[in-house]
């Protein structure tokens, strides 16, 4: 007779143990999330703390004299003169005027090293835009050299790094600072220029445009092909050994390391079809191969989630199978397909390994204007900058990572938003 009471006791005893293990399990979960968040926040703080400086850059204020004889140009309409003109002479003259006491060859070289070697070309562009300035004088802010930029920023932070500078350069900068002729400005070059080996002139515009062209082609190719394949496999294909075989292979392809697609692209598109290296066409084709499996798999899942009753109702009303798919299944599955496509695109945006093989890991200065211009992409630009010896590229690298991350965040948030907005539940 004591048996039921005994069981009850047993259950009561085990209850607290089971509760404890549930509590423990919850804590494991919280710990896992905490570790994940901590890793992300360490990554973000590291990148932001290194990269925030790159959004501002040092400029020097100088009085320039657009002296026709010093530049060697008297007619701005003559392209030959524009090519031969000594544009760097303008900032050199201005520096000598600012520091008239400097003499001697090596001191002068150091003096000229204060401004970026692209400053002359910037002034050339300014002159071409305002031809009336030729022969005139004006006070302008000129881009400083990257070593000066690094020094000035570190000096403002209280830990001056002067190893690349001479003592004279340090005093000149202090002098300019006292006169208010050196300051940090918003670094618009970062967003408007292509790559450069001079950190102060380097920008990500070229890489952004390259990524844009490459991804556009990837989207144009992979979305219709992926959706068509998914619809056929889900709605029309007979269930037999062949379709099983295809399904297994699609799943396999989704897990193949991306570098393999690069090798495939090299063999087919470049060596066989002779598409030039380094152009967005070949990049887009390779990334299409890579994203297709992802899009097919998510599209099939989206089609599967459309309830059969809708199909049956359409067929029951006399619709053909084609009409049923196009009028009912596809519109209902489209949000899911779009989400899959966006996630696939985000993956393709962050990809650099397959592009290594097809020549898109290259130094390209000119901003690509189309699908057949040599181009590089954002992750590759990050890789190239991380590998450069110039110290100022460290902050540029982190800044480029921040820009890439913000693109990824925008794409992934829009995927979530689209799903929330358009998804229908049954």
């Amino acid at each position: 007779m004591t048996e039921p009471a005994n069981n009850l006791q047993k259950i009561r005893k085990s209850l607290s143990r089971r509760n404890r293990s549930e509590q423990r399990f919850r804590w494991y979960g919280r710990l896992a999330i905490f570790i994940g968040l901590a890793a992300v926040s360490v990554l973000f703080t590291d990148i932001v703390s290194k990269g925030h400086g790159a959004f501002r850059i040092t400029y020097l204020q100088l009085e320039v004299d657009y002296d026709q004889s010093a530049i060697g140009v008297d007619n701005l309409g003559d392209p030959k003169q524009l090519v031969q003109g000594d544009w760097q002479a303008i900032p050199k003259l201005a520096l000598r005027k600012q520091f008239p006491d400097v003499s001697g060859r090596s001191d002068k070289r150091k003096l000229y090293g204060l401004v970026s070697n692209g400053a002359g070309f910037d002034l050339k562009d300014r002159l071409i835009a305002n031809p009336l300035l030729l022969g005139e004088r004006e006070t302008v802010w000129l881009l400083a050299d990257d070593d000066i930029d690094t020094y000035y920023k570190s000096w403002l932070d209280g830990e001056p790094y002067a190893a690349r500078l001479s003592d004279k350069q340090v005093t000149w900068i202090a002098e300019l600072h006292d006169q208010g002729k050196i300051r940090l400005q918003f670094n618009s070059n970062l967003f408007t220029r292509g790559d450069s080996r001079e950190p102060e002139q380097a920008g990500i515009r070229g890489a952004v445009m390259g990524s844009l062209f490459t991804l556009l082609l990837t989207l144009i190719l992979s979305f219709p092909i992926g959706v068509a394949a998914a619809i056929y496999l889900e709605e029309f294909a007979p269930k037999n050994g062949w379709t099983d075989f295809i399904e297994v292979n699609i799943n396999n392809l989704a897990a193949v390391p991306s570098i393999i697609f690069g090798l495939l692209g090299l063999a087919i598109f470049i060596n066989f079809f002779h598409i030039p290296r380094s152009v967005p066409i070949v990049g887009g084709l390779v990334l299409t191969l890579m994203t297709l499996p992802t899009i097919i798999i998510t599209s099939r899942a989206a089609i599967k989630s459309v309830p059969p009753s809708i199909r049956e109702a359409a067929l029951g009303m006399g619709a053909s199978k084609y009409q049923m798919v196009l009028h009912h299944v596809l519109p209902l599955a489209l949000p899911g397909m779009l989400t899959g496509a966006i996630i696939g695109m985000a993956q393709a945006l962050g990809e650099s390994a397959p592009l290594l093989m097809i020549g898109m890991v290259a130094f390209i200065v000119d901003i690509p204007g189309g699908f057949s211009d040599p181009a590089t992409v954002l992750p590759v630009q990050i890789f190239l900058w991380a590998d450069s010896p110039e110290r100022a590229f460290i902050e540029k690298t982190s800044a480029a990572i921040m820009i890439l991350l913000s693109f990824l965040i925008i794409m992934n948030t829009s995927a979530v938003w689209l799903r929330k907005r358009l998804e229908r539940r049954w």
Partner: protein, 352 residues
Amino acid sequence: MNQRTIFSAILLAAASAAATSPALARDTIEVVGSSTVYPFSTVVAERYGRSSGKPTPKIESTGSGGGMKLFCSGVGTNYPDITNSSRRMKASEFEKCQANGVTEVIEVHIGYDGIVIANSIESAPMQLTRKDIFLALAAKVPGATAGELIENPYKTWRDVNPALPNTAIEVLGPPPTSGTRDAFAELGMEGGCKKIDWIAALKKTDKNAYKAVCHTIREDGAYIEAGENDNLIVQKLEANPAALGVFGFSFLDQNADKVQGSLIESVEPTFDSIADKSYPISRPLYFYVKKAHVGVVPGMQGYLNEFTSEKAWGEEGYLAEKGMIPLPIKMRRAMAENTRGLVPMTGKEALK
């Protein structure tokens, strides 16, 4: 109907994008090759593009060997015009070029690059000889009797040379795929290896055995492959003052507040000591030009002129500012004349 038009529009766009057949003629110079020469040739390309207003040459960093392979694959706009190299072209590569129709190749020796062995400035600078380097890093070192080789037993620098500090041997360096590693093995390791008489004698009798002894780096953890990224090695040295790192001179030049170069045979790696060759571990840098492409791809002559101008590769040129060690003035003049005159290699050069 509406959906059908959208669908066909998408398909049409896809088809037309895929069919945009790229023009075969190319107006951009294509350069491939060494990652060591890459930082220098990119600067020249950029300056050339900006001052001439022509398209800026495109430069890929494929490594010296990879560049030669692409370069020697054939003549025509599908193949690169120029390849950079941190070593001289090999005889086998020259033959491959010839076999594939790349008969006229112009060789341009542009300057030197030093390889430094550096540590964090928090530790004392090391005073090494090439023999120390060899003994510390070789897989097999000479034993007690001549002709005998034993597995490298040395754990600390003091084991190698009593004058060195009592710290564990820990060297971060590039992996075998890197040109820096090849040059380090050839100039640093072999340079020390030759100092041991019986191994030097081995060179005459059994060249392969000699090379195997001198070039093989130990794999028991004392030499750590730190990847191709030299910035990463600098960061790791900063974090670990006891370690040494092997990388190119330009990275030492840029990070003088974090790392210092070890003295090799009492010579500090500086710009001048590498230029006058008193610093022993330095290597020549080259690029190779396909003569058949000059005049076909626009701007080739202009790029060559820019590269061989004094303002680029001279003693006070912008390449020197980027850390390249220039050639002596006489060699520069001869080389510039040769290059501008497009004089190809004869095949009689002493290629290895």
